[in-house]
């Protein structure tokens, strides 16, 4: 049963949509019904981080072994990761508009998110700048492995040191501490899994297309 995970992905995402919009949620001031965005905004970032980590693993494997397929996979996972990142940014901006009053506020967490997107953009520009396949693979892998730990420091360590509006930072409690009741967890974790599986599915199709394209060109 090789396709079980694809069926699981569809089922989980349907569950996320229906349960996410219909199941009861805790009534909190300011957040109100917008707390349902938790199933979409936060899960987008989880999916992006998972795709980023997969990209890094393939980059490291490329540097260690030198097989060009690893580079191809790293690039495709990076593209899907960036799509999730943009989706997370947009859902976050809409949420911010209704809870903090503006689409964008000057906040370390948001700056970190913007910088992560910049890093992805720089990665793709670096890939465009050389023609040679092996050189491109090597340079982009080195750049990504170099930039990734700094990005992690930026997104996860710096916001905890300074004041931030974003939950989980600067003394603000994260959702997990008291808002997230068990019923919300029941939707939240399947949602993360569902979005991630969707990303992996899209990426696997893109990798197959890319491989066909390459063999056609040769």
């Amino acid at each position: 049963m090789p396709n079980v995970w694809k069926i699981a992905c569809v089922v989980l995402l349907y569950f996320t949509l229906f349960a996410g919009f219909l199941m009861p949620v805790p009534e909190l001031p300011i957040l109100n019904e917008s707390i349902r965005n938790l199933y979409f905004h936060v899960t987008m970032w989880f999916a992006m981080i998972i795709h980023m980590i997969v990209t890094i693993i393939y980059s490291i494997r490329y540097l260690a072994g030198g097989k060009i397929q690893y580079d191809l996979k790293a690039e495709q996972y990076a593209i899907t990761g960036m799509v999730f990142g943009i989706a997370g940014l947009i859902t976050g901006m809409i949420w911010a508009r209704f809870t903090w009053g503006a689409f964008w506020v000057n906040d370390t967490k948001l700056n970190g998110a913007a910088a992560a997107m910049l890093m992805y953009a720089a990665y793709f520009i670096l890939r465009q700048s050389t023609e040679d396949d092996t050189k491109r693979a090597k340079l982009s892998a080195v750049y990504l492995v170099f930039a990734f730990p700094l990005m992690m420091a930026f997104i996860y360590i710096l916001p905890r040191m300074t004041d931030s509006l974003h939950p989980g930072n600067g003394g603000n409690p994260a959702f997990g501490q008291y808002d997230l009741d068990n019923q919300m967890r029941l939707v939240f974790y399947p949602a993360i899994l569902g979005w991630t599986l969707l990303g992996v599915w899209i990426t696997s199709i893109r990798i197959r297309i890319k491989k066909l394209w390459n063999s056609h060109e040769n």
Binding site: L63, T108, N111, G112, A115, L118, M119, A121, A122, I125, L126, S129, T130, K135, K138, L139, A141, V142, Y143, V145, F146, A147, P149, L150, M151, A153, F154, I157, L158, M161, T162
Partner: protein, 218 residues
């Protein structure tokens, strides 16, 4: 290893001193930058603006100075390095040399800037320490980025595109720390930023140390 690092540092210094055009160019860059700010501001009272302008000058001076770090080397010299030197010695030597160089010019910038635009710094020791750590951090990021960019061709534009997302976390810590030093805030408050900055200063060179050999073999 240590001999080789020393060799690289002396060789860089000798080349720099033999052809003083690059250093003179940097001096002119600093002087004109500071003078333009002087002409438009006369005296900066607002501490945030003073701080921002100072780090902008340092940042662009660093990008200018370090872009040539790997580009200036001919194919023959690279082959010579490759056959006689250890890659770890080359990258560490260059990082140390560039860091010292940036620190020297950073202090010169601070001196001229302070004379012309006023010097609001209250905790001088802390400020100098911030500049020192900042220059080594910026040097280790940009030396590595310069190595990547020089392998990819299109030098200076690529250098800025690849460098800025990676420099952002470093710059945010630096700006906080130097703002505190200017305001003369107590050392205990600065400690967490200082720890973070030291951690980044250890993290980035070790990443460069691990990754440079992959760029090295072509």
């Amino acid at each position: 290893m240590f001999n080789q690092i020393r060799l690289i540092i002396f060789k860089e210094w000798k080349l720099e001193w033999r052809n003083r055009a690059a250093m003179a160019g940097l001096m002119v860059f600093i002087l004109s930058g500071v003078y333009i700010s002087y002409l438009s501001f006369k005296k900066i009272v607002d501490v945030s603006a003073w701080n921002a302008l100072f780090w902008l000058l340092i940042l662009f001076m660093a990008v200018n100075a370090l872009a040539k770090s790997f580009m200036a080397e001919s194919r023959g010299l690279q082959l010579f390095y490759y056959s006689f030197l250890n890659p770890y010695a080359v990258i560490l030597g260059k990082i140390i040399y560039n860091g010292l160089m940036l620190f020297l010019f950073g202090i010169i910038t601070f001196f001229i800037y302070g004379i012309l635009l006023g010097n609001p710094v209250q905790d001088m020791g802390m400020f100098i320490l911030t500049v020192l750590l900042g220059c080594f951090g910026i040097s280790s990021v940009l030396t590595m980025i310069s190595a990547i960019a020089s392998r990819a061709g299109h030098q200076s534009s690529l250098m800025a595109i690849l460098g800025f997302p990676v420099l952002l976390p470093l710059l945010i810590v630096l700006i906080h720390l130097s703002k505190n030093a200017i305001d003369g805030i107590d050392f205990s408050v600065n400690l967490k930023y200082l720890t973070m900055l030291t951690a980044l200063n250890l993290l980035v060179p070790s990443l460069a140390y691990i990754l440079f050999p992959y760029l090295w073999r072509e």
